[in-house]
Symmetry: D2
Subunit: 313 residues, 4 copies
């Protein structure tokens, strides 16, 4: 029987709530619904154990992980599987360089550090990567902050035989995936794009951050679609939506003899589910590589990343 993957999560937001609840859901139900890869080289979804967690807010630090995932401002819904005490107490994350040793010490027991904090603090992201390096753990950066794109840091992970995966998740299924697929479909059929837009509405802290500080992630999204005729137009923070995201996509195009082709799409999806559905794969890929001594960038992770090494920072 395969050893379970021991994961330390940094950040106890909606994405961590979705990950933790989903693992419990799949263990309880045995269902395979919504799973991209039920098993990777013998590792099932239920073979992932969260063994440590870091957060910063008062409502989460000191609480059991299974309670902290429901603390405000988290709003990912309760999936419904029983969540008895996890035995993992959420610890205070890094706020000061003097705490580095404490954090690195906690990471000692983990094979994979899943960095799932809010984007926008690259120095914090890199400090956790340093701690993982010190602790001998693989590191997965799900934020748009450049970590795996830092060539020097990547080399040190490679040299240490430790996987470094990042940067920025490509959601299992979300607006970007859908939009790109539609544009590719049209192109593959010879339909000529005229214009396209995308409107995203959501109610998470992530959305609030994007609306208030649109730069980094927004640019990352534009990279992902990369067409001059495509407008990634406005982001709206609507608290009542909770963790549900609503997207309105429009594509105007021309077919044979220039006749119009028009496509309007209305998508509803839970963003944290899209993240968890990819994180569960990245964590398993990282553990498998670690166990076989493969360090640095993992090519098999590239399709699940928005900004892998080599992408412009």
């Amino acid at each position: 029987m395969i050893d379970k993957v021991r994961v330390a999560v940094v950040g106890v937001g909606n994405n961590t709530s979705a990950l933790v609840q989903g693992i419990a859901f799949y263990r309880e139900t045995g269902s395979l619904v919504g799973l991209h890869r039920p098993e990777i080289d013998g590792l099932g979804v239920g073979d992932v154990d969260v063994v440590a967690a870091f957060a910063l807010s008062a409502g989460k630090v000191g609480a059991d992980l299974h309670e902290a995932i429901f603390a405000a401002p988290n709003n990912f819904p309760r999936v419904g599987s029983p969540l008895p005490s996890s035995g993992v107490t959420v610890q205070r994350g890094l706020t000061d360089v003097t705490e580095f040793d404490r954090v690195a010490g906690v990471l000692k027991g983990a094979e994979v550090v899943l960095y799932s904090a809010p984007s926008g603090r690259p120095e914090v992201a890199r400090a956790y990567a340093e701690a993982a390096l010190l602790a001998g753990a693989a590191f997965v950066n799900t934020t748009s902050d450049p970590v795996a794109r830092d060539a020097a840091l990547l080399r040190r992970f490679t040299d240490a035989g430790l996987p470094l995966i990042g940067d920025d998740l490509a959601s299992q299924f979300g607006t970007s995936v859908l939009h790109r697929a539609l544009l590719e479909l049209l192109a593959s059929r010879g339909i000529t794009l005229t214009s396209s837009y995308q409107v995203n509405l959501g109610g998470t802290e992530d959305f609030r951050n994007l609306v208030e500080h649109p730069n980094t992630k927004h640019r990352s999204k534009l990279n992902a679609l990369g067409s001059e005729q495509v407008a990634i137009a406005p982001l709206g923070y609507l608290p009542h939506l909770g963790s549900q995201k609503i997207a309105h996509l429009n594509v105007e195009a021309q077919g044979w003899a220039g006749t119009p082709v028009s496509l309007d799409v209305h998508l509803k999806v839970h963003d944290p589910s899209g993240a968890a559905g990819v994180n569960i794969d990245l964590v398993r890929l990282a553990a498998l590589a670690l166990r076989t001594g493969r360090g640095g960038h993992l090519p098999e992770a590239t399709p699940m990343l928005k900004s892998p090494p080599g992408t412009a920072i």
Copy 2:
């Protein structure tokens, strides 16, 4: 300079209107908009000449082709390129076996017979195929009537070195293409389909026929998507839509931990454009094969067909 492809069209409905107007549009503008394959082995879109045409209705027979394509009940819009007299007078099509020789005689001058009459009269489709065989022309069956799926007939075309392409067009871009792409996209990301439906509304004679006699083509469509969870629900004939088709697609699915994914799509497209955009390719493939002595089924045409040889009749 390459010889132009000489095509005889059977049926002067909307699809023929779109084909004839589109060829004029691309010749006049030099545009490549909406073209899947601007050139196939040296044959451009403008290298196709319609040299004969058959119809049955009083308003079309005897008229110049460039007038007949606008006769009722045709309602494909005017694309706008100048259409001076074509020099091709629409001839009366087959209504009686005694006229077979007359029709075959007309086909003598053509390399490709494009059969674009309404579906639902398989014996008529096969009679034209016989006439093409007699005249030494390739045959393209765009209807859902079984012609290329008739093994005996296919063998005779093969033996005669004459291409036989069919049955039933896969539109360049339409509801089926889009619906299938969306379902495949979800499956490829590990999202589990719960239910899906498709509603098609249109204003052409083809739609009126589908609504009044839903069987043959409808079944062909269900084949194309082939999932028990997908309902190809009702077809509506709304004359005011003209040749524009409107489709409402819905997909309900489940992602990570069973959380809901919901997709609603509203598509507007001109069906005859979708047909013409594929016919222009099939005709060129047929001519190229004919010129090099390749008869029977053409594998390169398979992706553009809904029911190629081997599909159940």
Copy 3:
């Protein structure tokens, strides 16, 4: 304290399920959510008691009403309020004229007979009206079968001092209400209607009947919107929708200087809720009139009916 309204329901389908569950919901929660009129002349929603029920199918007859409302093919969802045994055993309805006396006997204890069986059997509807007349109860016909539009029958109810309300419910909120409101809004602003369509999809037995026998109710709907430019196009039976109805509405119009105005609406609603929300008012109006000796047609019910007396049969 006001006496509760004693209602006998004919038909234990989705509409009756919604009515019975809703009364329990409002009694339990004290909520006023979704109520058009919380109180009518002192009668609250919780003041309505179902004291007898008739059905025909083996799975319902003989069962307690609170079980029968969940028997197939009913598919209105469980609202969630506790439903202990009701003490009302569902009785076999009229299938034969010889049973008329038995049925009329049961109705003796009721003030109002709510006729909520499937449309399309006018002679059955009228037989229950006769039984109500004999039993001295008011009669509410929620089907499109002509009962209140039968002038002779209406006169007999009037003469007997018994209210007769019908025919055909105008839903509390549904496609017709919304469509008419949109068309009236455009007209009131001087926007000129060009075309409009409506597509309805549902998963109830009512929908199955409409799809298979579209005539009666369909005509009633067209009456309700009554414009030549409005197409009430196809009805689709999609079992997976359950009691949820999905409607796609489109309105194309012209504003100032003929510039286009386009409106697409996607509505999701539970049809049985729309029926129950009106039935609860009709039943109370009927009881109040009965108690004050007002018989025949009740003008105050007219806005809630699609085909009140005077409408063409």
Copy 4:
């Protein structure tokens, strides 16, 4: 025969383009399509003459009005009616207090001054109102800048027997009108609102201004709907839309027994048409009042204004 209304327009943007082209369209075609009020007390749409026009940009000043309305950044489409030279040369508007007399002199020939410049410069709006007062003309303020809400100014117009109409147009048909009508419809049927949002996308300079300086007009919009559960969420500037506005509206609500009611609306409309369709009425009301000596606020104009006198500034 009634005397034509002589109007001076301040601002030669899209709204003026729509007004001028629409008058030409209705004169040429005799059509009544899209007209709220074809005639007001004998004044038809074609009875309005633009006799003077002010603008600021180099591309408009000095040009004939019928050319200036198509100068960038205007992007209201060509309606298609012939527009021979108007004989009205666009004059330079007020940029400096020293030009006040020149402007007032031009206004001398006009009965109505239609102030249709961009919102956000209240002092300019009031200067034109002063000029109208001096010239003895009625004043219509279509911007959200407070002019008619200025009690002292209103009194001076009243005393002078000159109509003062404002502030801020309620479009003939647009997102606010539709959204409010839907919310009122639900409320009138007893459906309980849960949440609602509105997303507006457009490609005019007006939209660019709203996106870059969202304050004034946005607040005016919120006033207009005024519900805590309604989010007027993000505005997007998409140049490719031109003068077409696209709105996505969502309404989530609860019906009988708390069952969900969901409404998604997709609206396409030309904003300048909505403005012109109201301006043509305001101008005629102003002229009629002026001719009968009625000054100050005109109650009959109130329904066409977002912020009439008495509304908070």
